[in-house]
């Protein structure tokens, strides 16, 4: 069997993984990236709208600074984030954006003079200053006090990923693409690398590393209707959960994006609304201004998605063969704007819907979009539970997003966390040595070989992997969606436990040598169902509403009892995760208060550590 030794192993080569790799490699550490696809195909490339950083160059961003960005992020998180991390993030984001410019991003720039912009369907005038000409500009996004989202048209993720991979090429970082990590190698205390499967040949390999990074993105594919790419099945979170030691933070914190197109759930960017697009109902009338008079279409994503669902439930949705939907209207932005600033949107609408957004409205509905939860790490990106294991990006629960991520903060997180965690890993590697225990490695490999053998032979049963996956997705769609309640969540937990049993009895229907796509899914399905159970079970226990987690039977945000982060681990042989809790933050720069959008019913905490001397303001 092939064995590779390296200082740092990055599992995942999207933006976060590659940024960490660049940080370590530029310090002279040997780095290998594993990626299940060629790195430039990673899902980071699909992020359209932009990346938040408080440069404050454009006139609508004037006066912006890390303090304001920090406050927006904390409010967006519904006080679920780690404020130390959010602070570090907001301070570093402007530097990270300029560093990307230095590496070659063609950021859109400030054009001086008079211009127009749209808000709530109405046209307004703005004047950009001459002295800011040619500096990086920004657009408006939801839940922010300033225009802060830096962008390259609506292909921001694409340009960032290509530029980051250019750096990887420049530094000569080794990338093994089409290789999937299927288990962590560890002795209960130290992580020593991974057992991986080559998706070209189907052969197993060992990677032994002093430091191992999980940067595999989110787990949106446990839902059927998701904007996520087909590879976002949580494989990194799964191998962490499989250790029984490393916890998943806040698995119940799942974001639904307001504008997935119907029926394919492909995302159209928040930039559509940021640039002045409006949401309309079956009568062609706007409705967000009724529910959110202040932020209107640009309240945070959790809030907009809930009001859209609420509005559809009132019977105001547009009927279609794929169920009711609403309209996104960007026609008034005009052909020139759409063809330059929203060209991916134009392409997606034309090619996948046969809709021309210049003359027609776009059918949209909220769809699963982002996993705030993930491998729980400390502020340096070190995973809880295993020395030498790190995580960054959407795969991690670092945790700057808490219970709701702001648009533009995910691309920003990948670059910023990648930079910070990468530098911390380089510090960690300095002088660090690890014993690669051959018995541990051998056992880990043997366990995987046996597992594969049993699945191929159908030794534990003949369950069809695709049917098991569909059954799991049905449960999440039906009972763990935008609005949740105890009864439904209990149903999901009960049913998913049965599906968990089935997932352990999957057998292949046919056997082919080589990559074998059916086997690749079969190796993951048990872990995916466990992630689904973590989400459902943690959601059932959390008897409050916070950010994206909205309980109809507990509509208030309960800071008294639930100002805490879920930590889910999975002990071998169990049929449910073990849940523990910790305080979301050690530092409380901004004590819990009102977000300024969304319904604010708050049960206050009187914990002096959280709110200091003075009682928090509420309505």
């Amino acid at each position: 069997m092939d064995t590779f030794y390296t200082d740092l192993l990055c599992v995942g080569a999207g933006l976060a993984g590659e940024r960490v790799a660049v940080a370590a490699a530029s310090q002279g550490f040997e780095t290998i990236c594993l990626s299940i696809v060629p790195p430039r195909r990673s899902h980071s490339s699909a992020a359209q709208g932009g990346m938040q950083a408080s440069l404050g160059h454009c006139c609508m961003g004037e006066g912006d600074c890390p303090d304001v960005h920090f406050a927006d992020t904390v409010k967006g998180s519904d006080w679920g984030c780690d404020q130390e991390v959010a602070r570090m993030f907001a301070e570093t984001a402007p530097i990270a954006v300029r560093e990307m410019a230095y590496w070659g991003i063609p950021w859109n720039r400030v054009v001086p003079g008079k211009g127009t912009y749209y808000k709530g369907g109405k046209e307004y005038e703005k004047i950009e200053k001459k002295e800011k000409e040619g500096l990086i500009t920004a657009r408006d996004f939801g839940g922010t006090a300033k225009w802060r989202t830096c962008y390259t048209s609506d292909g921001t993720g694409h340009t960032l990923l290509f530029t980051m991979d250019n750096e990887v090429v420049r530094l000569g970082v080794t990338v093994h693409d089409r290789v999937e990590a299927i288990a962590l190698i560890h002795d209960g205390e130290t992580c020593m690398g991974v057992v991986a499967r080559c998706l070209k040949t189907g052969k197993l390999r060992n990677y032994l590393a002093k430091a191992t990074l999980i940067a595999t993105g989110g787990y949106g594919r446990i839902y059927r209707e998701t904007t996520n790419a087909v590879i976002n099945d949580g494989s990194g979170a799964i191998i962490a959960l499989d250790t029984g030691i490393v916890p998943i933070g806040n698995p119940e914190a799942v974001q639904f994006h307001p504008t997935g197109i119907v029926p394919t759930n492909i995302l159209v960017t928040e930039g559509c609304r940021g640039d002045g697009g409006t949401l309309k109902d079956v009568n062609g009338e706007r409705f967000m201004h009724i529910y959110e008079p202040g932020k209107q279409e640009l309240a945070s994503r959790d809030v907009v998605s809930r009001w859209m669902t609420h509005h559809i439930r009132l019977g105001k949705g547009v009927p279609s063969p794929y169920g009711p939907h609403l309209w996104l209207d960007i026609r008034h932005l005009g052909e020139k704007h759409i063809k330059t600033k929203l060209r991916e949107v134009e392409e997606i609408c034309n090619e996948f819907l046969g809709v021309d957004p210049i003359t027609q409205m776009i059918p949209v509905r909220p769809a699963q979009h982002y996993s705030m939860g993930g491998v729980r790490t400390d502020k340096d990106g070190a995973a809880y539970g295993l020395k030498g294991l790190f995580s960054a990006g959407e795969a991690a629960c670092w945790d700057m997003h808490g219970f709701n991520r702001l648009g533009g903060n995910s691309l920003a997180e990948t670059i910023v966390a990648g930079k910070i965690v990468g530098e911390k890993i380089a510090e960690f590697l300095e002088g660090y040595e690890v014993d690669f225990k051959t018995a541990v490695v051998k056992d880990a490999v043997k366990k995987e070989e046996e597992r594969i053998d049993r699945i191929i032979k159908g030794a534990d049963g003949k369950e069809n992997v695709y049917e098991v996956r569909n059954a799991m997705q049905d449960q999440l769609m039906d009972y763990v969606g935008i609005f949740r309640n105890g009864e439904d969540l209990q149903k999901a937990v009960d049913n998913l436990q049965v599906i968990h049993e089935r997932s352990q009895k999957v057998g292949l229907r046919s056997y082919s040598l080589g990559a074998n796509p059916e086997l690749a899914l079969a190796l993951k399905i048990r872990g995916m169902v466990r992630m689904a159970l973590c989400a459902a079970y943690a959601a059932l226990q959390r008897t409050e509403s916070r950010g994206a987690h909205a309980r109809e039977d507990h509509p208030e945000r309960n800071d008294r009892d639930w100002l805490k982060r879920t930590l889910a681990t999975w002990k071998e042989g169990d049929s449910l995760p073990t849940l523990e809790y910790e305080k979301p933050s050690k530092v409380w720069e901004i004590p819990p208060g009102e977000r300024g959008y969304g319904v604010a019913k708050i049960i206050c905490t009187e914990d002096p550590e959280v709110c200091g001397e003075k009682k928090p303001e509420t309505n």
Partner: protein
């Protein structure tokens, strides 16, 4: 009732010594708004779980799913069956190494390409975290972005007569990348540096000018313009020394 569709799909698994390249037919009933993404996944999940193909974003953004669709390279995810006849032939992209069935190894090819053209900003400036970014006109940023939109799907390479004959030919995607950096003032490389990279038979002078690349690019990148520009610039660079002798101080220093 939808149209009955017949898919003739190339099958070969290089990992299996018993496998022989052949075409295999599958049948599906067409559904509303069906794309090849939907069709191929249905075939795999309902009829043959061993069928190999690649999808990632399923939204025309990542470039994973390029294949020969009725003889023409295109992204499978954005190809609607409605636009095709009832009999659909699917083959893997040529030029790239076959992994199995419709799946090819574009990763190795493109990493190679990126190394060959040294696809990154060359500068001796050092990043200063405390300074404002270098200014750039928005117009220029848009122009760079236009070429930066390449998704490395490989369609232009598959459609290239020269690349099909000469595996070492760089292809339009590489020329487009070079053009992108030539346009970028942050990159300090001069014409002579680019000359070394592309002014060869495997480079721009090997291009036969058939322009299959321009016809098939799913992102409508103006490849023809980049080929023309590069050929002109490199052609000029190769004869420039003659003019320098006649006109001292001519164009020699110009980027």
């Amino acid at each position: 009732m939808g149209r009955p569709l017949k898919f003739n799909i190339f099958r070969y698994n290089p990992e299996d010594p018993a496998s022989v390249p052949h075409m295999e037919s599958f049948h599906l009933e067409e559904t509303d708004a069906m794309t090849l993404y939907i069709a191929l996944n249905r075939i795999r999940e309902e009829q043959d779980p061993t069928l190999m193909f690649d999808f990632m974003c399923r939204a025309g953004i990542c470039g994973s799913c390029a294949m020969m669709i009725n003889g023409r390279p295109d992204l499978a995810c954005h190809t609607k069956t409605k636009a095709l006849p009832a009999e659909i032939n699917l083959m893997p992209l040529p030029v790239f190494k076959l992994i199995g069935d419709l799946s090819v190894d574009t990763g190795t090819w493109f990493r190679n390409m990126n190394e060959k053209v040294r696809s990154y900003v060359h500068t001796d400036k050092v990043f200063d975290p405390n300074a404002d970014e270098e200014r750039m006109s928005n117009e220029l940023a848009d122009e760079i972005y236009e070429l930066e939109r390449c998704i490395e799907c490989g369609c232009c390479v598959a459609a290239c007569g020269k690349a099909n004959m000469v595996p070492s030919f760089m292809g339009a995607t590489a020329f487009n990348r070079v053009a992108r950096f030539m346009m970028d003032p942050r990159d300090q490389r001069k014409t002579d540096d680019y000359f070394e990279i592309v002014a060869t038979d495997d480079g721009i002078f090997g291009c036969l000018g058939l322009l299959g690349c321009e016809d098939v690019c799913p992102k409508d990148i103006p490849l023809q313009d980049q080929l023309g520009m590069l050929r002109r610039k490199m052609g000029w660079a190769s004869v420039r020394h003659l003019f320098d002798k006649i006109l001292p101080g001519g164009d020699a220093k110009k980027k």
